[in-house]
Symmetry: none
Subunit: 472 residues, 2 copies
Amino acid sequence: MTDSWATFGADLHLELRGAGLRAGLMDALREAVRSGRLAPGARLPSSRGLAADLGIARNTVADAYAELTAEGWLTARQGSGTRVARRAAPRTGRGAAAGSRPPGPPRRTAAPVRKARHDLHPGTPDLASFPRAAWLKAARKALTAAPDEAFGYSDPQGRIELRAALADYLSRARGVRAHPDRIVIVSGFVHGLRLMARVLRDRRVREVAVDSYGLDVHWRLLTDAGLRLPALPYDEHGTRTEALGRQGAVLMTAAHQFPLGGALPADRRAAAVDWARAGGGLILEDDYDGEFRYDRQPVGALQSLDPERVVYLGTASKSLAPGLRLGWMVLPRDLVAEVTAAKGEADWMCGAPDQLTLAEFLTSGAYDRHVRARRLHYRRRRDQLVAALAAEAPQVRVTGIAAGLHAVLTLPPGTEASVVQAAAHHGLAVQGLSYFRHPDVPHGPDGLVVGYGTPSDSAWHGALAALVRAVP
Amino acid sequence: MTDSWATFGADLHLELRGAGLRAGLMDALREAVRSGRLAPGARLPSSRGLAADLGIARNTVADAYAELTAEGWLTARQGSGTRVARRAAPRTGRGAAAGSRPPGPPRRTAAPVRKARHDLHPGTPDLASFPRAAWLKAARKALTAAPDEAFGYSDPQGRIELRAALADYLSRARGVRAHPDRIVIVSGFVHGLRLMARVLRDRRVREVAVDSYGLDVHWRLLTDAGLRLPALPYDEHGTRTEALGRQGAVLMTAAHQFPLGGALPADRRAAAVDWARAGGGLILEDDYDGEFRYDRQPVGALQSLDPERVVYLGTASKSLAPGLRLGWMVLPRDLVAEVTAAKGEADWMCGAPDQLTLAEFLTSGAYDRHVRARRLHYRRRRDQLVAALAAEAPQVRVTGIAAGLHAVLTLPPGTEASVVQAAAHHGLAVQGLSYFRHPDVPHGPDGLVVGYGTPSDSAWHGALAALVRAVP
């Protein structure tokens, strides 16, 4: 046993906290790695040994080790046992991935999508993959166990069962500093953004900075609320947050810029937080598909840098299905009441059965199992996309592929419109990169935003073939 | 295992907190007994069973049981296992009462309700009667049969399966002239009313007439939207609709005036429709408890008189449970697009699983069976209320009892406030009639609005006895 373990293991009894034993153990181990109490490469005791030491079941420890290995905190190698990963968790963050979000409300893309034979629009997961049986199993357990009051008029903030389950999940899987009291359940990202627009307007905020690339449906929602949306400059490293100025808030997809796909570098994350602290600004973090990170250590949520200055928004729309209409906000202390009131005024919105079912789905581990399986599946598709293009269209550069459900294909200058048109002609629905460019940004590279997560398995290979045919 | 355990056990993973496993388990159990989640006498699982369930060592559980027994929270008797002590701790209502409140935002009555031992607030059905097993059966059938696209970004108008099922049910059970294309699914009456407020404002409507008695949360929603709300005069036959004038719309509970309980006479219904046709006005029909009619033929919806001038609003909040957050609007042809757009802008709101489940619940006949059973049940309660008052407080007149889940008790002039206060003092939550009076209506009879549908069966007789004690 290493010294690093010896000093930590003795205190572990006191470290166990949070929701559930496995989660509590995982929190303690994660924190120990994060803080350096467990050094990179440090060897952990066997699951049997630790279980005996703590007086808990061996499976609880084994499960915790397995999940932390899946999250990239630990490594397990035949013969050398379980060790702390050499590059566990970036210094900027505490947890797992972040990624891409959908083209918001469907009206913008629904029409073409329905007509197209092949659909590679970004923003929707493979709907055929929704885990119906597991969902129904969770529904049975949740609705059987629910107290009667769960079926009554409930707290606009959302069911406590779901907020508690999310606080646990978001902290361990996404590095979010979350407490059930700080979470408000919403019916999707657009709903949460709308509530924030209302709150910002009430606070006399006039300007919200946005990236040079993003979703016009989100921009329109904010401008409809009377807000101006200056675009922040962008370079090869990402959004230049040091350019933040008098704006009252900034909307970011820091972990996986949508649609360009980069992760915001640590220094620019820090610059954004410094800006927020200095001027009392708010950062709206759209962490839309954070579960799907493929090639490197998880990129932690920006929120963990300063929970009092960052509004974290996430949903089940990519990880499970948009049709659930379930999302969540993790809020600074002084925003909880305002956001809850703004939501309650309109209506409570989210049905209790679906909220209770998602809570059970999370606490039972079914959510983690589903996400792990989908991650492998989407990663395989991404690899197939990259390989097919390398073979058939080597001149096309593919970027933003470290995470998420979409990739950006860089096209020869001046060809984007004709490629999108040719694709549509061949029954392939795909969006040009310029579609996502801020109106104040006059120029940008030609490209395609390819949602490789969208098709069902049966439709995927046909869609990929059609894409390869469509690119020059 | 008892229900009380089943309710609590499922959440126990979330409850464990504090330093150390045994202490955490003891805290969770103590809190569950204190809050009433584990009822006095409730049997706990064996230490072996719970240890396996939680994945912790058996001794940890056995020690916790032993200490809690020593502290007097639990009792251990040979043969009967470990149970919650009969007089372990006072209950702080966590049953149906905590969720009960008038059909409106909770903030208004939440506080008093939580403290009340007996809850007779109107507006909530018996939450213990929610048909969990039948609902889960419908969910299994609906989610198994659903097309993949049901889990995607869907039509803001609502799932077609549910709109089709409602068109059939509403025409059959409520005489509504409904077609799926005219129906928009909402998350409750308040949500539908809010959408209408938005549409009316866009149409430059300035005034919406309302009854002399109603719900201030609805009035506030409309005034917040910038609308003026003149009150229509009221006499013993109901609202005097012939007094309608320049207003652009009128909000009515024609089938069962809330809270007074009368059905609008045919000539006054006709007068309202004539007014709407003559001046292009709209009638907003709040059909909140139309299913529950006891002493005569159901009173059909006003909407059937002129589907192009009446906006029909209904929900599952009284017939099933408010927690479903599912309601519906049946709209004139020229309003469908406006209302759908207003809804879509904010978000789609209603989750597909709950929508699909309600559709199956309706088409399978389970909804009709449930409503028939509840109707008999609530009617019995009403009869018990009337009989108890006739025997114990013959001077109290009971009105508005032909339908619905509430009755109005007429009190001697000048006694309302003191009766409500005395009731609260005896742990009975009940609302005075004046609470529902329009601010422009200076005077009105003293009375109580008694929600006899609210308590669970186990709480009903105690609540009734408390009411009889409270009235003069």
